[in-house]
C-alpha cells in the first residue's frame, strides 16, 4: 500500500463525509481540497458553493482563493455576496458547511478571532469571522476539520466566533440556530462525533496507526472515547492519486 500522511488521511476522511448530490458550502484550504476530491471520486454530483457567490462551481484545478476566476467560469450561476448569504445560506438550503479554526472546544464551538489577552488587546489577532458564524448556524450539517493539538483543542475558547453546540444539548434550539450543528470533527488522528445524549464531541474513529492515548494527549480537555473506536479505512490508491494530482495543480497555480 502507498504511504500516506496524516494530513492526507484527514483530507480523505473529510471527502468521504460528503454525500453525492449534497450542496456543500466550501471554504478555501483543506475543505476545498476535500470537496474537490469527493467530486472526482465518489460524489460526482456534489454541488460546490463558495461564499464569493459561485453556485455549482466545477473547477478543473484547486482554486487558491474563494474567489478565483475558475470558480466563476465553471459555475452554474454567479450571484452577489448578499444573495449567497441571504437566499442560499440563511434559509437552510445548504446541506453541508465546512469549517476550520484556530481553537475548538468539546462542544464544537470555534474561535477564529483572537487568542490571548482580551479582545481589545489580544496576544494574537486572527482574521475574524468571515462567513463562519452563519455557516455554523444555518447549514444543515457542519463538518469541522482541524489538526489535533492541545493548543487548538482547548477547554475554553478565548473567543466564540462560531457556535457548535454551545454549552451542550439544547443550546442550539435556544439560540434559534436551525442547522444540526457539527456532526463530525475530522482530525489527523481520528474523528470525533457528538454524543447523542450530551452533544459532547467524542472520539469514534481512529486514523490508521493512531492510538487513543495519542488522541487524548492532543486534546486539552479529558477526551471522551466510545467503547470501541473503529479504525478509518486507509486512503485508497485512487483517493491518493487524485488528491496528489489536485495538490499539484495548486502548486502550479501558486507559481
Amino acid at each position: 500500500m502507498t504511504e500516506f500522511t496524516s494530513d492526507e488521511m484527514m483530507t480523505v476522511g473529510a471527502a468521504r463525509s460528503l454525500r453525492d448530490g449534497a450542496a456543500c458550502f466550501v471554504g478555501i484550504g483543506l475543505p476545498s481540497t476535500a470537496a474537490n476530491l469527493a467530486r472526482r471520486t465518489h460524489a460526482p454530483n456534489l454541488v460546490l458553493i463558495y461564499e464569493s457567490g459561485t453556485l455549482g462551481a466545477k473547477p478543473d484545478r484547486l482554486p487558491l482563493s474563494i474567489g478565483d476566476g475558475v470558480l466563476a467560469d465553471t459555475a452554474d450561476s454567479v450571484i452577489t455576496v448578499p444573495e449567497i448569504f441571504n437566499y442560499w445560506l440563511q434559509p437552510g438550503r445548504i446541506d453541508i458547511g465546512f469549517l476550520g479554526g484556530a481553537q475548538v472546544d468539546r462542544f464544537g464551538n470555534i474561535n477564529t478571532t483572537v487568542i490571548g489577552g482580551d479582545y481589545v488587546n489580544p496576544k494574537v489577532r486572527l482574521p475574524g469571522a468571515g462567513g463562519a458564524p452563519e455557516i455554523a448556524a444555518s447549514c444543515r450539517e457542519v463538518l469541522i476539520v482541524m489538526r489535533m493539538s492541545p493548543r487548538s483543542f482547548v477547554p475554553k475558547l478565548d473567543f466564540i466566533t462560531s457556535v457548535g453546540y454551545g454549552t451542550g444539548k439544547g443550546d442550539r434550539e435556544k439560540l434559534g440556530l436551525r442547522g444540526r450543528g457539527p456532526v463530525k470533527l475530522i482530525t489527523d488522528l481520528g474523528v470525533l462525533e457528538p454524543d447523542p445524549e450530551t452533544c459532547e464531541l467524542t472520539l469514534t474513529q481512529l486514523s490508521p496507526g493512531a492510538t487513543v492515548e495519542q488522541a487524548k494527549a492532543a486534546v486539552g480537555w479529558p477526551l471522551r472515547v466510545v467503547a470501541e473506536p473503529t479504525v478509518q479505512q486507509a486512503p485508497t490508491e485512487e483517493e491518493l492519486t487524485v488528491l496528489r494530482e489536485l495538490q499539484a495543480t495548486i502548486s502550479a497555480g501558486a507559481k
Binding site: S52, G53, T80, V81, L126, P133, L175, G176
Partner: protein, 287 residues
C-alpha cells in the same frame, strides 16, 4: 445615495484628480471587491495623497488595506475578515491593533453575512437590516452595531445591523463607456451595493470602450449613480480582472515579509507609492 436634488452623470477623470476631489480627511470610505476586482490602485492613490483619519470599510481587508493602515490613513476599520488570503495574517493591521502603530486603530467587527446586509440596507435606503446571525457568538458583546429585533408577526428574535452609507464608495470594474456607464462581470461581490450605498462613488476601470457589450452575468451601473470613472489598466493588481489578467499569487506571498517589518514596509511605501513606481501609476492612468 446621490444627494437629493443633485442630478449628475459620471465624469471621466484621472485617478489622482478623482481621489483629490472625492476623498477627504475624516471620510468614511469603502473600497470593495470580493477577491476579484479589488481597487488597489485607488487605495494606493489615497495613501499617496496622504489622507488621514479615514474610517475604512471592507468585508475582506487584505493587502491594500494593510498598506492603507500601515501608512497611517485610517483611524477605524469596519470589517468581517482581515487576512492575506492563502498566506496568513496582515501584519500592519495586527501592528496597528496590538501596538497602535503608526496610529491607533479602532475596529468594528462583523460577520460576512452582517456586512453584506449592511451594504444592502445602505443601498436600499433603509436604516438597518435583519438577518439570522451572530446568535451565541462573542461578537455581540464586542460590537455595539449588533442588536436584537423581534418579528412583529411571529415574535421570533433576529439580529439587526445598521446600514453602512460611506461618504465614498470605490470599486474597480472591467469597463466603462464614454458616457460613464460601468460594466463588470465574474464575481461581483458587494460592488453594486457599495456604489448605491455611498454618497459619492469612484469606479476605476480596465478600459473605457465605445460601447458596452452585454455579457452573461454582468452587472451594469448606469452613469447617473456613479460620480467619477477613472481608466486605470491593471488597477486591481495583484488581484485579478476576469478577461484581463490573472491573480498575481506571488505578490500576495511576497507581501508577507514586507508587511511583517516596519522598516521594510516604510521602504516599500517610499519606493512603490511615493517614489518612481508611483509616478508610473499616475502616468498609466493619464488619458
Amino acid at each position: 445615495m446621490r444627494t437629493q436634488g443633485v442630478v449628475g452623470l459620471a465624469r471621466i477623470l484621472r485617478l489622482d484628480e478623482a481621489v483629490a476631489e472625492l476623498v477627504h480627511d475624516g471620510d468614511t470610505v469603502a473600497l470593495e471587491g470580493f477577491t476579484h476586482l479589488i481597487p488597489v490602485a485607488a487605495g494606493q492613490e489615497i495613501i499617496r495623497q496622504r489622507r488621514r483619519d479615514l474610517t475604512l470599510i471592507r468585508m475582506t481587508p487584505d493587502i491594500v488595506y494593510d498598506q492603507l493602515i500601515g501608512a497611517g490613513c485610517a483611524r477605524k476599520l469596519i470589517f468581517s475578515w482581515g487576512g492575506n488570503p492563502g498566506v496568513g495574517s496582515l501584519h500592519r493591521f495586527r501592528d496597528a491593533i496590538q501596538n497602535s502603530w503608526p496610529v491607533p486603530l479602532e475596529i468594528e467587527e462583523h460577520s460576512h453575512a452582517g456586512m453584506a446586509n449592511r451594504y444592502a440596507a445602505g443601498a436600499a435606503g433603509l436604516p438597518f437590516a435583519v438577518l439570522r446571525g451572530y446568535a451565541g457568538t462573542d461578537l455581540v458583546a464586542q460590537t455595539d452595531t449588533i442588536k436584537t429585533i423581534e418579528c412583529p408577526f411571529t415574535g421570533e428574535r433576529l439580529a439587526a445591523v445598521p446600514a453602512v452609507n460611506p461618504d465614498v464608495g470605490i470599486i474597480h470594474a472591467q469597463q466603462a463607456d464614454r458616457a460613464g456607464n460601468v460594466q463588470m462581470w465574474g464575481i461581483t461581490g458587494v460592488q453594486k451595493e457599495t456604489v448605491l450605498a455611498s454618497a459619492r462613488s469612484l469606479v476605476t476601470v480596465e478600459e473605457i470602450v465605445d460601447e458596452l457589450t452585454p455579457r452573461p452575468g454582468a452587472v451594469v451601473l448606469p452613469n447617473w449613480v456613479v460620480t467619477a470613472v477613472a481608466e486605470v489598466p491593471g488597477g486591481a493588481h495583484p488581484s485579478y480582472a476576469q478577461g484581463y489578467y490573472e491573480r498575481d499569487n506571488a505578490y500576495y506571498q511576497q507581501w508577507d515579509p514586507i508587511g511583517r517589518d516596519r522598516e521594510k514596509f516604510e521602504n516599500w511605501l517610499q519606493t512603490e507609492v511615493f517614489g518612481a513606481g508611483a509616478q508610473q501609476d499616475v502616468e498609466r492612468s493619464a488619458r
